[in-house]
């Protein structure tokens, strides 16, 4: 079985190399690279944000539905290539207070304790800036490295019990508690000829000095593109992170399924 898989894998890669996909200055789909969307193109997923390429070098992103409870906005700016690397920076902010207050409630749906012993959730404004660098290793293989820093500003104290101790969620809420967070990551996009691609990444969220100091997140996605206007993403997310415990933080693995559908449109530009 292993030999069979190996042959299929090698065959698929050879085929990919024989039929190269020539990378453009922009990426038709936003897949974690330093490339921005082409000007006039927008894309939206069930779970991924709405993205819009304003110019060849500037891309905006926001989660429209989430905006009702977590106002958020992000933009990516691409720069001149540095040697073989395409460089971009990504900056964004979000305001999670309305959502946190919404899920702080009695009964079902209460993710945060509503007890009067815990003070009100203050206003929190979180911002992140990242540097992204993408190198095209081969026409079918794109490597992106990224690193960034996040800060959170609060109008008051946030009680330590005001956390949701779940994978993905807890490390992001830890930012609100501690006020800062670093992130490092690497994305790899393997583009196959025809309709398939594989997108895999590793991200490390760190809060140096904090007890629950890290979350290592890995994603594996198979992407099937029907066209440049529709694609399906299916895969998994693996998280190994530190969570609150006594007398010291505990680490735990979680494996979560990922599924998304994405649509895109291209607005005609002059």
């Amino acid at each position: 079985m292993n030999t069979f898989f190996r042959r299929v894998t090698v065959g698929a890669i050879l085929f990919a190399l024989i039929c190269p996909v020539v990378p453009a200055d922009n990426a038709p789909w936003s897949t974690g690279t330093a490339y921005t969307l082409p000007a006039g193109r927008w894309e939206k997923g069930l779970f991924q944000p709405l993205r819009y390429g304003q110019t060849e070098r500037l891309e905006w992103a926001t989660h429209p539905v989430l905006n009702l409870v977590v106002p958020n906005l992000r933009f990516k700016v691409a720069y001149r290539d540095f040697k073989d690397w395409r460089l971009a920076t990504r900056h964004g902010f979000h305001y999670p207070t309305p959502l946190l207050r919404l899920v702080r409630r009695p009964g079902i749906g209460g993710l945060i304790s509503p007890e009067s012993d815990i003070p009100d959730i203050p206003h929190i404004l979180a911002a992140r800036s990242e540097l992204l660098a993408t190198r095209v290793l081969s026409p079918a293989l794109w490597l992106t490295c990224k690193g960034g820093v996040s800060v959170a500003l609060r109008t008051g104290e946030l009680d330590e019990r005001t956390t949701i101790d779940l994978p993905i969620v807890f490390p992001r809420m830890a930012l609100f508690l501690h006020g800062y967070q670093l992130n490092l990551g690497m994305d790899l996009l393997a583009d196959f000829p025809g309709r398939w691609a594989i997108w895999t990444d590793v991200d490390l969220l760190m809060i140096p000095g904090a007890e629950e100091s890290f979350s290592l997140e890995h994603k594996g996605l198979a992407i099937w593109s029907r066209s440049e206007r529709f694609q399906v993403l299916i895969g998994y997310k693996l998280v190994y992170g530190a969570y609150p415990d006594y007398p010291r933080a505990r680490t735990q693995w979680h494996l979560l399924p990922l599924l998304d559908l994405q649509w895109a449109r291209q607005r005609k530009t002059r």
Partner: protein
């Protein structure tokens, strides 16, 4: 080419290995019978080689909640304790346990990995701060996350036994689930279990200890089923010539109780948390009392119910009913049975249940 092959290979390896390593159910539904969790104190204090009697204690410790007013009691809205609150309350429990100095203690409502107790492993804490050396534990509520009232991660509400001597053959026997709840509530709700273990007491190779926390708020007879299974397990041990000490929070009153309903401390109006009408339950413990020896005899209890009350949802105003028990098929030292109502004063309460203790006669 090499990079691509390495990448794909790593990708496959990661998928395969993570599928094996990382899958954990949202709710632990427990097997019918499974091994209990074994504990050991950080420092072992050499236990006595011989003993004629053993001091045995039973205590529902309310997960170290002391006299905080929790939402389910309808006296307050507390859900999550701070680490300081938990440790302060546990230290008070430790002080009481050290004062009674039991050889074996049966515990109910012990949390080991729960957000509501700031993730303090209460089994380990009690072992490390008392003269007891070994512990066995079964969880009754093990859920990755409860998305209600901010409860969050929960592994607790369990039964434990601590002893000076090691345990063997400790197991969890699953008790029937309540059937008066909708499927979703039942899935995430407490799953009761009977903890049974053998203590390696020098000179005794068939000494069993059992503890149970019967269903509290069921309206469908589940509590009766739990008590019957408890009784049956004791009968099995007795029939094979085993010696046992058993107890717990049976959540029902002894035969001959004068007050059967409308307890002044029960103020919850929600049906879900009403469990204070015992009119149909007056004979549910008759079998246990007739077959085995209670730490507090029925005649003593019937002579003055109030002396032996062990529970109230508002304990600072005094206990209102007896729910906590110790039984054996050996004997108790006459007059040694005691209900520690002194754990409550107008200033503070260590739990909403009073411990019961008695001196077990070893044959």
């Amino acid at each position: 080419m090499r990079k691509v092959l390495v990448t794909i290979g790593m990708f496959r390896w990661l998928v395969a290995s993570t599928l094996l390593l990382a899958c954990e159910p949202i709710v632990n539904t427990f097997n019918e019978v499974e091994e209990a969790v074994y504990y050991q104190a950080a420092e072992i204090i050499t236990p006595p080689e011989t003993a004629d009697t053993l001091m045995v204690m039973n205590w529902n410790i309310k997960f170290g909640g002391g006299d905080l007013n929790f939402w389910f009691d309808c006296y307050g809205d507390r859900v999550l304790m701070t680490e300081e609150e938990v440790l302060t309350n546990l230290d008070s429990l430790v002080e009481k346990i050290r004062q009674v100095d039991p050889d074996i203690i049966l515990l109910q409502e012990v949390d080991v990995e729960a957000k509501r107790v700031a993730y303090v492993d209460q089994m380990q804490y009690l072992l490390d701060h008392t003269d007891l050396n070994y512990g066995v534990y079964i969880s009754e509520w093990d859920t990755q996350f409860i998305a209600s009232d901010g409860i969050g991660r929960m592994d607790g509400e369990g039964n434990g036994i601590l002893s000076r001597w090691p345990f063997i053959e400790a197991k969890r026997i699953a008790l029937p689930l309540r059937t008066d709840q909708d499927a979703l509530t039942q899935y995430f709700y407490i799953r009761r279990g009977l903890l049974t273990a053998m203590v390696e007491l020098p000179g005794y190779d068939n000494f069993h200890v059992l503890t149970i926390h019967a269903a509290a708020f069921s309206q469908d007879g589940t509590k009766k089923k739990h008590i019957d299974i408890f009784n049956e397990e004791l009968d099995k041990i007795d029939a094979t010539g085993g010696l046992f000490v058993a107890g717990g929070d049976l959540n029902t009153i002894p035969p001959g109780s004068q007050k059967l309903h409308d307890f002044k401390d029960s103020i919850c109006e929600e049906e879900e948390f009403r469990g204070d009408d015992y009119q149909e339950e007056t004979e549910w413990l008759t079998g246990l009392y007739e077959s085995y020896h209670p730490a507090i005899s029925l005649s003593d209890y019937q002579a003055d119910n109030a002396l032996y009350f062990s529970h109230s949802t508002n304990p600072r105003n005094g206990f209102t009913r007896k729910l906590d028990y110790l039984f054996t098929n050996s004997a108790w030292v006459t007059g040694s049975g005691y209900t520690h109502q002194e754990i409550v004063s107008v200033e503070r309460a260590l739990s909403d249940h009073a411990p019961v203790s008695a001196q077990l006669v070893l044959p």
